[in-house]
Every structure is written in structure tokens, then in C-alpha cells.
């Protein structure tokens, strides 16, 4: 698993993908920072974090599209699957590499928050809560991306599929508020990935939301493992 993780990290930064992701992320967060904090002159970081959520559905697919599809296409999966490592190890190594790049990209945003804290009032608890929320949200998004990368040989197809799924999840929220049935609304908002995040923005450290995000990640990683194992039987 460690070997896979190391290679994947190396690959993110020898190919442009790692840099493209981090730059795009920083550029987008900088825009939101200007809009929500500099322009309004309000030091409420919650708006800023809430706003940045939309970025991930565009960017996480970039991070995950290559992970499994490319191995299949270039047949390098043959060395992975004939080496003494488990499929779980392979999947986890790749997942953790993507999560690491995702986390690295978050670090510079803390500088902006520190800048606001210097001039205004920023709740440390709220900021920390948001970072934790973003991290767990990222876990579930990356796991979904991993799964969709494993179903196809094409990076582009994997990216488009991931983007479509993440975007649909985003619109699930809007759907929840427009359905008539109270029960259905409840179901929709229960499975809504973004809705869950509002707990963190309001400073609530919600254990159930964390469990939810971890569950989504575990389910999709499990499905990824199954799909790779199943391919050998086809």
C-alpha cells in the first residue's frame, strides 16, 4: 500500500495533474475569499467555506479520473495485480494519495483565514469545524471518484461521470426543498451530501455527519475493490 501511495504521489507531481488541481483550487478559493470576505468586509468565514463547496464537484474528478482507468488502459494493472499486494491495499494507497493532494491544497487557504483573523474576529472552533467538514466531505467525494475511475478505461469518461454524479448530489438539496411529501424530503436530505455539510458551517461538530461521510467513503471504496476483483472473473 505504501509503495502504491508513494508512486501515486510522485505521479501527481511529475504530471501536471497535482499542480493543476492545487492551482485551480487556490484560484477558485481566492475568488470566493474576495467575494465573501474582502468585498463584504465581514469576517464570517462560514460564508466563505460554504461557498467553496461548489468547487469540489468540478475539481475532485480531476484528482480521481486517472487513478484506475489509466492503469487499465496502459495494462500496468498487470504488475499491481500479480504482485504480492491485496486489492484493498492498491485501492487504499490510491485513495490516500488523492486525499493527500486534496489536503495539501487546503493548507494555503489557512493563510487567508489567518489574515482575516489578524484584522477581525474569527472563531477558531468554527474554522476548525469547517476544515474537518471539508476533509470528510472530500473523503466521500474522492471515494466516489475512485469508483467511477475503476468502471472505465477512459480518463475522460471517468471525469465526466464523477462530475455528473457530484453535481446531481448537489442538486439533491434543491430537490429536497421542493418535494411535497415530508417523508420524501427527509429521505432526500438524509442522503444529501452537501446538506450534511451545513452542520459544520454552523459550528456544530456533528458526529452523525462524520459517520455518514465515512460510510459513503467506505461503501464506494468497497465497491471499487469489488469491481477490480470481479474483472478477473469476467
Amino acid at each position: 500500500m505504501i509503495a502504491i501511495f508513494k508512486r501515486e504521489m510522485q505521479s501527481y507531481f511529475t504530471s501536471p495533474i497535482g499542480y493543476v488541481y492545487i492551482c485551480a483550487y487556490l484560484f477558485a478559493t481566492a475568488l470566493f475569499f474576495k467575494m465573501y470576505i474582502l468585498d463584504t468586509g465581514v469576517s464570517n468565514v462560514v460564508y466563505f467555506f460554504g461557498g467553496t463547496l461548489i468547487i469540489y464537484m468540478f475539481l475532485v474528478p480531476i484528482l480521481t479520473m486517472r487513478l484506475f482507468s489509466e492503469e487499465q488502459k496502459s495494462k500496468t494493472d498487470q504488475i499491481l495485480l500479480t504482485s504480492p499486494v491485496s486489492v484493498t491495499g492498491i485501492v487504499l494507497g490510491k485513495f490516500l494519495a488523492a486525499l493527500s493532494v486534496y489536503t495539501i491544497a487546503l493548507i494555503p487557504t489557512a493563510v487567508s483565514i489567518g489574515f482575516v483573523a489578524h484584522y477581525g474576529d474569527v472563531s477558531l472552533g468554527l474554522t476548525l469545524g469547517n476544515y474537518i467538514g471539508i476533509l470528510f466531505l472530500g473523503m466521500s467525494f474522492i471515494a466516489i471518484g475512485c469508483f467511477l475511475s475503476a468502471v472505465t478505461e477512459s480518463q475522460v469518461v471517468a471525469a465526466v461521470l464523477s462530475f455528473t454524479v457530484l453535481m446531481s448530489l448537489y442538486f439533491l438539496d434543491t430537490l429536497a426543498s421542493s418535494v411535497n411529501s415530508a417523508f420524501l424530503a427527509k429521505v432526500v436530505s438524509f442522503i444529501s451530501v452537501y446538506d450534511r455539510y451545513t452542520d459544520f458551517t454552523s459550528g456544530l461538530f456533528s458526529l452523525s455527519s462524520i459517520v455518514y461521510y465515512i460510510s459513503v467513503a467506505v461503501i464506494f471504496l468497497f465497491l471499487t475493490i469489488r469491481i477490480i476483483e470481479k474483472r478477473r472473473w469476467s
Partner: protein
């Protein structure tokens, strides 16, 4: 070292491997020979654990590849048909990765160095893999298979795409490795199996149609021993004389290729050698024999015969 029992692989309706069984002993170099699509690669992919068999069992060093894949895979070095190379890595980065991936126990630098010297890739060690020539890529692929010095090497068409000098180098390397490794290699180049392998398995349509070393196989397939003799003198007289030799089953005059002489095809049972009686008989009657050629079947003829026989529904060996 390798035991394969009733291996079956089905892709949908298509039977790619049809109940293959064989064993490979320690230190043996086994050649898989067969036309394209015969099931060579599929069988190799199953042996290495990349694909799962529909039914049947594979044991490597006594360990079942399905029940205990991680342990069994430690015994195997595999070079697939297309070398599994990460194009954006340098040779050094790639070999370091493989070293980590295979959890090699030997000290890192000396072990990698040794392999690089063996497959002669020292001079491209710092280069990015995508810029290497096909021959070098193939050798990096071979280096990957040798990492950790596994006792079993499975090489799928290891000399494809190499120039003639490189082919000879790689064949010599395989022979050298065969002294202390069990090697299975697949190829459709007949000279390759003849020059490298101790034993040959011919596969056609997912079935083993022949198993043995090159001499055994050609001997088996050849049927009667055939000789062509060029004898000076009268055609009718010589034919009569040749027919009189005991053990000669058939005599056929092939016509004249050299002035004053005729070529005769002689067939005899494979268990007797008719060359000495042939010489004595002709010498005694003052007919000089000016040429003698054995028409034994080459491995190539045998291969074509086996593969076509089978597809015509004929009887396989």
C-alpha cells in the same frame, strides 16, 4: 514447482482454455507454443493470478494461487505481453517502485544494480521510460520480473519487437536464468523454443496438442523416416536395387537434378537406420551414391501439422 490441473477459462460463450493440465519441474524451461489466440496469454495470466480460472487449480511452489494469492505471487516474476511500465517514470523510479511493491528482502541498491547489469539497462537508468526504444522497454519489463529474484519466471513473448542481436542476448539471458529458475515462456517463434526450451507444450484452441522436447515431438509427428539419395546410373536398375534393400518401405524416383544421376526418395520405418545397408548395396553394385539427405520433419512442419490437424478435427498426438 508449477502444477496446473484441469484449467478452464470461459469468456462468455468462448472457451479460451479447455481443461489444460501440466506440471513444470524446478529449473525447467518450458516453452508455450501456439498460433495467435490459442490461449497462451490467457493461461499465463491465470498462472500469475491476474485472471481467475473458471475452474481448475494452479499451484505455484505448492501454494494455490486462488486460496493464497499473496503468498503464491511472491514466487512469480511476470513479464506480460505488453510490459507494465509507467511511461512518466524514470527507469530508476520505476525499479524503486517495483522493489517496494514486491517487498523485496535483498538490500536495495546492490540488488537493483545486479538486475540492471544482467539485463543491460545501466546506460538508460536515469531516463524517462516513454523515451526508451522498444528493446529497452522490453528489458526494463524483464528487470521488473526479476525483481526479488523469484524462483518462477513467466515471460509472455519476451523477444517480441527486439532486433536480432537483442533477441540472441535475451535468449542467452533466459538460458542463463533457467539454470536456477523455473521458466515458462510463450512464443510463436519456433527457433526460439528450439534454442531455449527444455520442453515444449503446443497449445491450440485452448488444448494441449503436444508435450515433449523438440526431438521427441518431431520424431513423434514425423511418422516414417525419409531419406533422399542421389545415385548415378540407370534409373530402372537403381530403383530395382533400392527396392531390394530390406526395411525400405517405399522408393520413389524424384527425377534428375544433376546430369547422369537421379534423386530417389526412400521411406523406412523410424526404428531402423537404412543408411548403412543402402551404402553397402549401392557400392557392391558399383552405383556411386553422390548425395544423401535426411528429410526429417522440422519442428516447424510438425507445428503446422499439429495445428492444422487439430482444426480439421483430425487426431491429435
Amino acid at each position: 514447482m508449477i502444477q496446473v490441473e484441469n484449467l478452464v477459462k470461459r469468456y462468455g460463450d468462448k472457451l479460451a482454455v479447455d481443461s489444460i493440465s501440466f506440471t513444470v519441474g524446478e529449473g525447467e524451461i518450458l516453452g508455450f507454443l501456439g498460433p495467435n489466440g490459442a490461449g497462451k496469454s490467457t493461461t499465463m495470466n491465470i498462472l500469475t493470478g491476474y485472471l481467475s480460472a473458471t475452474s481448475g487449480a494452479v499451484r505455484i511452489g505448492g501454494v494455490d494461487i486462488l486460496d493464497n494469492p499473496i503468498e503464491a505471487k511472491q514466487f512469480i516474476g511476470f513479464l506480460p505481453e505488453q510490459p507494465p511500465l509507467y511511461m512518466d517514470m524514470t527507469v530508476k523510479e520505476y525499479l524503486d517502485f517495483v522493489y517496494d511493491l514486491k517487498k523485496v528482502k535483498f538490500p536495495r541498491r546492490p540488488h537493483i544494480n545486479e538486475i540492471c547489469e544482467l539485463v543491460k539497462i545501466k546506460e538508460v537508468y536515469g531516463r524517462t521510460i516513454k523515451h526508451l526504444s522498444k528493446g529497452y522497454k522490453q528489458r526494463v519489463g524483464l528487470a521488473q520480473a526479476l525483481m526479488g529474484n523469484p524462483p518462477v519466471l513467466i515471460l509472455d513473448e519476451p523477444t517480441v519487437g527486439l532486433d536480432p542481436r537483442q533477441i540472441i542476448e535475451i535468449r542467452n539471458l533466459i538460458k542463463k536464468l533457467g539454470k536456477n529458475h523455473t521458466v515458462i515462456l510463450s512464443t510463436h517463434i519456433l527457433q526460439e523454443v528450439q534454442s531455449v526450451c527444455d520442453r515444449i507444450l503446443i497449445i491450440n484452441k485452448g488444448q494441449i496438442v503436444a508435450d515433449g522436447n523438440a526431438e521427441q515431438l518431431t520424431y513423434k509427428a514425423a511418422g516414417n523416416r525419409k531419406l533422399v539419395a542421389r545415385v548415378a546410373g540407370s534409373k530402372t536398375e537403381v530403383t530395382k536395387l533400392l527396392r531390394s534393400i530390406p526395411d525400405v518401405l517405399r522408393v520413389e524416383c524424384l527425377g534428375s537434378r544433376e546430369a547422369g544421376s537421379n534423386d530417389y526418395l526412400l521411406e523406412a520405418s523410424p526404428v531402423v537406420d537404412i543408411r548403412k545397408p543402402l551404402f553397402r548395396t549401392l557400392a557392391a553394385s558399383q552405383y556411386p551414391m553422390i548425395g544423401l539427405k535426411s528429410m526429417d520433419m522440422s519442428l516447424e512442419d510438425m507445428f503446422v501439422k499439429l495445428v492444422t490437424e487439430d482444426s480439421e478435427g483430425g487426431e491429435a498426438l
